[in-house]
């Protein structure tokens, strides 16, 4: 039986752990609230799914995904922090401070409309708080680098390359050169599967992070053994439900994104981007890499945009997104470190100060979300969105603006060859027409000349005949004269004979 002193020592720790669990679950809820758009922005944009169906599907699959793999949770609970360096009295308070740091940074970026990542904010907050509260030696930088920092840098690039290749394949296989329907509209059916896969993958990665944090707190206070870092069943269930509830609650906001006409994603492109996102996150989850699903989905959307012909990168937009991504981890670490300073300086009072800060942030988020509440009734009313911040605009959808795709892209090599062949045939036909016209003209001219010749011949024959007739008339006249003379001469002879 524990002594009264021991009991008094445990009570603040229990309180801190309970507060940590509650705050972690709230963080999970906001993660789901924010990230629904990652999974469902493209199928709704291309019309593959009705918004209500898409949101319910995403919530259910996030729930299932949370149970699918716990490798990421194990990375956080049993890899990043050296458990043997922690004191059970102090560390839950440090985790709590880290969570406050993450939520504060998320809130700030949400208010200012800056691109951010909930996952990186969580890691940043935890690392900053641990550095201040425990020390550098408490962090395993090898695991941090290989399972968090490098995947964070590499995964969006990987997803972009895969999406680029997949989009090229999708367009090349379905391209038709005879101008007949290509059937690409059918990719909308496929998007129902791929967007579901993204929601599932989101559950396998994002829900795990909170499970890992809660399990880490349990290990620190000795409620769970360090050599079994997998989360307990009730922790998995609670986190899965929190992320699913957040996903369902935040679903309506994405409709406004679409109402603003931010996205122009073709079905083949959306299908490729989502397949790439799901494949990257699922493969990473299996290896325990903790990724930012927002960044992976954004990388895929940019990559698939570049996979379309004639597309150009808007480097200013890409730069803004990447700076937001790079800033998140150190900025959240600083905020987490400040929160940890409260704990180091004031002990339990510091925890309570952090709890008050967290409560104020939660109340602020709730108030702001009520002010700009989006539901089935006003989802299409795009004019009522608050201009100061854009919580209703999906970062994934915004990242589509990083690539400009022309309405009429340049033709492919084969299309160019076909166009050249058509042009050659057209010119040949034109030449033939010209030659036919020339031949017809020449024929007409010959006909006219022939007629003229015939007329000339006729005139000549007529003239000849007239001359001939005149000659014959003259000859006849001459003969008549000759006969008349001969007659006169004969008469004269006859008269002389009579005489």
């Amino acid at each position: 039986m524990p002594s009264p002193d021991r009991k008094r020592a445990v009570e603040p720790v229990t309180l801190t752990v309970v507060l940590t669990v509650v705050l972690a679950l709230f963080f999970d809820f906001t993660n789901g609230f924010h990230d629904t758009a990652n999974a469902m922005a493209t199928p709704i944009a291309t019309g593959a799914l009705k918004p209500r169906v898409a949101v319910i599907l995403a919530a259910c699959l996030n729930l299932v995904g949370a149970f699918l793999s716990t490798e990421v949770a194990k990375t956080i609970s049993g890899g990043i922090i050296h458990e043997d360096q922690l004191t059970p009295e102090a560390f839950p308070a440090i985790i709590f401070a880290g969570l406050v740091g993450a939520i504060t940074w998320n809130m700030l970026t949400w208010l200012l409309g800056l691109p951010s990542s909930s996952s990186h904010a969580l890691f940043g907050g935890l690392i900053g708080a641990t550095l201040v509260g425990v020390g550098v030696y408490a962090i395993d930088f090898g695991v941090l680098l290989s399972k968090v920092v490098l995947p964070a840098l590499v995964a969006p690039l990987t997803a972009g390359i895969i999406a680029f290749c997949a989009t090229k394949v999708a367009y090349a296989v379905t391209r038709r050169y005879d101008g007949r329907p290509d059937g690409r509209s059918g990719f909308r059916w496929g998007q129902i599967v791929t967007s579901s896969l993204v929601a599932l993958a989101h559950g396998t990665n994002d829900a795990q992070k909170t499970m890992g944090v809660i399990t880490l707190a349990f290990i620190a206070v000795g409620w769970q053994q360090a050599d079994h870092p997998e989360p307990m069943l009730w922790v998995i269930l609670a986190c899965a439900l929190a992320i699913a509830l957040g996903t369902y609650t935040g679903g309506w906001r994405i409709i406004r994104t679409l109402g603003k006409g931010l996205t122009d994603v073709k079905p083949a492109q959306g299908f490729s981007a989502e397949t790439s996102t799901a494949a990257t996150i699922l493969a990473s989850s299996a290896f325990g890499f903790a990724l930012s699903t927002t960044q992976v989905a954004s990388g895929s959307v940019i990559g698939s945009g570049l996979g379309r012909r004639g597309s150009r990168v808007q480097w200013s937009t890409v730069g803004r997104i990447v700076i937001g991504w790079l800033l998140t981890l150190p900025a959240a670490a600083i905020v987490g470190a400040i929160a940890a300073f409260f704990v180091v300086w004031w002990g339990l009072w510091g925890v309570l100060a952090n709890a008050v800060l967290a409560a104020a942030i939660i109340a602020g988020v709730f108030r702001l979300s009520r002010r700009s509440r989006v539901h089935a009734g006003n989802a299409l009313d795009t004019d009522t969105a608050p201009p100061a911040h854009r919580p209703d605009v999906s970062e994934v959808a915004t990242s589509a603006l990083a690539v400009k795709v022309p309405a009429a892209p340049h033709p492919t090599r084969r299309q160019r060859e076909i166009l050249l062949e058509k042009e050659r045939l057209r010119m040949e036909a034109e030449n033939l027409q010209i030659r036919a016209a020339l031949a017809a003209e020449r024929q007409e001219r010959i006909k006219v000349e022939l007629l003229a010749l015939q007329e000339a011949e006729a005139r000549e024959a007529e003239a000849t005949a007239r001359l001939d007739a005149e000659r014959r008339a003259r000859e006849a006249d001459a003969e008549r004269e000759r006969v008349a003379k001969a007659l006169k001469k004969a008469e004269k002879h006859a008269k002389r004979g009579k005489q």
Binding site: L145, P151, A166, R180, P181, S185, G186, G190, A286
Partner: protein, 111 residues
């Protein structure tokens, strides 16, 4: 303090993701191509929010449906060739589905 990074794991993730994505997208695209060859051009119009979607409006969808019907009427293939194309299309879609299920099973086996 030694920092070791498992670079092979990164390559494995990249290889698994690109193979999975290309197989799924390639099979789906080939399936659609064969479906079109079989004279069954899919025209899937958006269910809702047609004003927010710049890709296909209701008018464009109806025009696409008419073009698809016309293309199907003018299909020069014999009935047997069309059947082969249709079977090929369904085989591609099945392969696509199997690839998805296979991916999830691999993740489950990795636990």
């Amino acid at each position: 303090m030694s920092i070791s990074v498992d670079w092979i794991a990164f390559l494995q993730v990249f290889a698994a993701a690109i193979v999975g994505a290309i197989v799924i997208v390639g099979c789906a695209a080939l399936g659609l191509r064969l479906l079109v060859r079989a004279g069954r051009v899919p025209v899937v119009s958006p269910r809702e929010f047609t004003d927010a979607i710049t890709i296909v409006t209701a008018k464009e969808a109806s025009r696409a449906a008419k073009a698809a019907a016309k293309a199907a009427r003018k299909n020069p293939l014999t009935l047997a060739q069309k059947r082969v194309a249709l079977v090929g299309a369904y085989a591609c879609f099945t392969l696509c589905g199997l690839a998805v299920i296979g991916g999830i099973v691999i993740v489950l086996l990795h636990r």
